[in-house]
Symmetry: C2
Subunit: 436 residues, 2 copies
């Protein structure tokens, strides 16, 4: 038998529910791995070892609780937890203990998941880096803002971890760390109890090492338990490459990743897969996303701006000031435009395509821990509220992972997962096949 | 000069910014009124007298802070506040002090508003009554769930108070208490830091005694400061009576209220005002709203259900169980339907009408403090995300207030306020004229 910490979430849960392994042993294996690696990776802001062990023992003795029975889970420190401190990546909230769990975390626990600890996020899920290193090369960023979750999963510390995305905070770190990242449709998972940046766009999701695993995570967090039963594809899916208007920013490794993805796509579609150009009306989605986020964030953090202005980083303060300069009229115009574009993209997905294949990031993780990389290839999809999955597909010139993202129509999460699993099976790399 | 506590918010702010009155004196006048009446009305769960007085003194000495400079405000106890306990109407959260303010409350304070205290809500903004009495007859309910806010404003304790609506929790208590209640368009005000019941429908808003006052409140809470400048109507508005499919439930006083509203409407429209029948596709909006709310609530309260099942009332527990019986497939179907109906109603408002005139409630406030009344005339509009304003229009057989609601298209809050002000001027009753 392989080491317990290297089991996928689905493998582990199968073994746990058959009582072939113990939740306690799985947890200890994860803690052991964390003990070995945390000095280098710095993925965690706190560990709830005692509570987690107590819970694991209860689950080992008691009835099967649910979808995530006995599985250790990392929780991005943007999510509130009643038994572990929640800092939102800000020194303002050092030693802050909320009274309740975020709704999605309560649902994870209800499904038998064990919160092992909190994972590092950037300051209020923005762009100021946290302490976390990329497991593939500690001198590089793991991406952000869900830095700790992506790194912990990539480094075999935990099989499943939660994330959130307002610009590109799930897909980008998943690509940089070589794991599966799943941002479901907007609204699929409650945002209650997760620090709010943008009411219009904040989306909860998760990281794991396989498609089945992220499906399990979002199934539990959303209450859509059927999502965990990924259906086989019965019809040939309509696939298309969508390079987007930002394609000129892509590095050569991203070009290569997209070419590899096209081979896989053609194997699945049993025919050639073409490129899809979004209509001109979508040309500004990146800018619209950016403006809405800035505008909403400058208001969402009003409390912190009033009471703790000096504890906000210079980078964030600058961002907030830039949000202040956007007028409400501009904001309303952008929201209206978003609404129209969401209808239009839904129509495109109904009539023309099931899944787009698109870049996840510009390229490999930048060689710096000062920047978490550019979310330019994610902003628009987040604005549109579409479900996205990052799949690791190749490595770049520095040997770091490079992913692509699959994007489906609004609410088409089941279809997205089916196609993503077919992709994982069709890829040349055995590691990637493991992502099914 | 009239007593300070009887000034409207707009009158008070005008006097405050001209330094004709002091924030301290206004606050003391409100506290005095509360002292006289609170034993009967029981609108408040806590008062922050010391902090409020300190803040008032600062504002009296300092520069003009913003839209709400020096105005005492009541905050529904569903909103988190860093300096006052937040119970969400549940014994689970007795003496619960959150670390931050809800986003909209931080924005109120940023605009110079003074949080005077927290107002009573029903248990987690549901149907189990709180302690509050209707100021017009203490044996009757003030409505719910924003019971304390509506009663405090009606009883001249405070000129402005926040509310929230998922089914009918602003419009219904406003009607029962004879004040103006304004539920703006869905998404206009951040829900962050307000206990979440339904991600799909929770909407923040406020109560006051005039149209100008609720405009001020929502302007500050949303950051859309232009909303406070209500524009005159330049074109004849397209008005229509919309009795809705639930019309058979209306009591005679509601029939009378709608007839009076029609006179006012015809004066404004300078011509006859007809009835509008919603297309058959809208027949089920009340049921859809109810199912989505039940489904989402049974998940939103997961933490409380796991940790404090015995501290939830029998009534709420029953509701939560009923939510558990709704399948995710049904929920998704209902959400999809909602999405379609929202597009359809937007089209109707574009092509055919500016404002609907509709019942706010079945009739007068029921003669009981056990029930907060039926939200049947509000559920559908809330589901559709439309901005609604309750205007007091007449009294029923028991001498209690009866309102009507004006409803505009999604995002048409400016237009709604203009028309509502024209209504208030056109009504026969001088008290109601005061609502302009």
């Amino acid at each position: 038998m392989q080491d317990l910490e290297s089991l996928s979430a689905s493998q582990a849960i199968r073994a746990l529910t058959r009582r072939e392994i113990k939740a306690t042993d799985l947890l200890l294996a994860c803690l052991d791995r964390i003990g070995q690696r945390e000095n280098t990776i710095r993925a965690w802001t706190s560990l709830g070892k005692e509570n987690a062990l107590m819970r694991a023992k209860e689950l080992d003795k008691g009835a099967i609780k649910g979808l995530l029975h006995g599985l250790p889970i990392g929780v991005k420190d943007l999510y509130e937890t009643y038994d572990l401190p929640t800092s939102y990546g800000s020194p303002i909230y050092t030693n802050h203990y909320p009274s309740t769990d975020a709704v999605s975390i309560a649902l994870i626990r209800q499904a038998g998941g064990i919160v092992l600890g909190k994972t590092a996020t950037t300051e209020f899920a923005n762009f100021k880096s946290g302490p976390t290193a990329n497991p593939h090369n500690p001198k590089h960023t793991p991406g952000g803002s869900s830095s700790g979750s992506a790194a912990a999963v990539a480094d075999w510390m935990v099989p499943l971890a939660t994330g959130s995305q307002t610009a590109g905070s799930i897909i980008r770190p998943a690509s940089f760390c070589g794991v599966v990242g799943y941002k479901p449709s907007l609204g699929k998972i409650s945002t209650a109890g997760v620090k709010s940046l943008s009411q219009a766009m904040d989306t909860m999701g998760c990281f794991a090492r396989t498609i089945g695993d992220v499906a399990l995570g979002v199934a539990a967090m959303s209450g859509d338990h059927e999502l965990a039963n990924i259906q086989d594809l019965h019809n040939k899916p309509r696939l298309a490459i969508c390079k987007t208007i930002n394609w000129a920013s892509a590095h050569t490794e991203t070009t290569a990743a997209l070419a590899l993805a096209r081979y896989a796509a053609e194997a699945i579609a049993k025919g050639s897969v073409g490129e899809f150009m979004l209509p001109k009306s979508f040309d500004e989605i990146t800018q619209i996303q950016s403006r809405i986020m800035s505008f909403e964030m400058s208001r969402s953090l009003a409390f912190e701006r009033i009471h703790f202005p000096k504890k906000l980083s210079a980078l964030l303060t600058k961002q907030l000031h830039s949000g202040d300069t956007i007028s409400y009229v501009q904001y309303e115009k952008d929201l209206l435009r978003t609404h129209e574009l969401r209808s239009q993209i839904a129509q495109i997905f109904r009539d023309e395509v099931d899944v787009f294949i698109a870049p996840s990031a510009i390229g490999e993780a930048p060689a710096s821990k000062e920047s978490t990389g550019d979310p330019i290839f994610c902003r628009g999809w987040t604005l549109l509220g579409l479900p996205c999955i990052n799949l690791n597909i190749t490595t770049g010139p520095l040997g770091l992972p490079v992913g692509i993202q699959l994007i489906a129509g609004p609410g088409k999460d089941h279809l997205l997962l089916s196609i993503a699993r077919a992709f994982a099976y069709s890829l040349p790399d055995p590691v990637t096949r493991d992502q099914a």
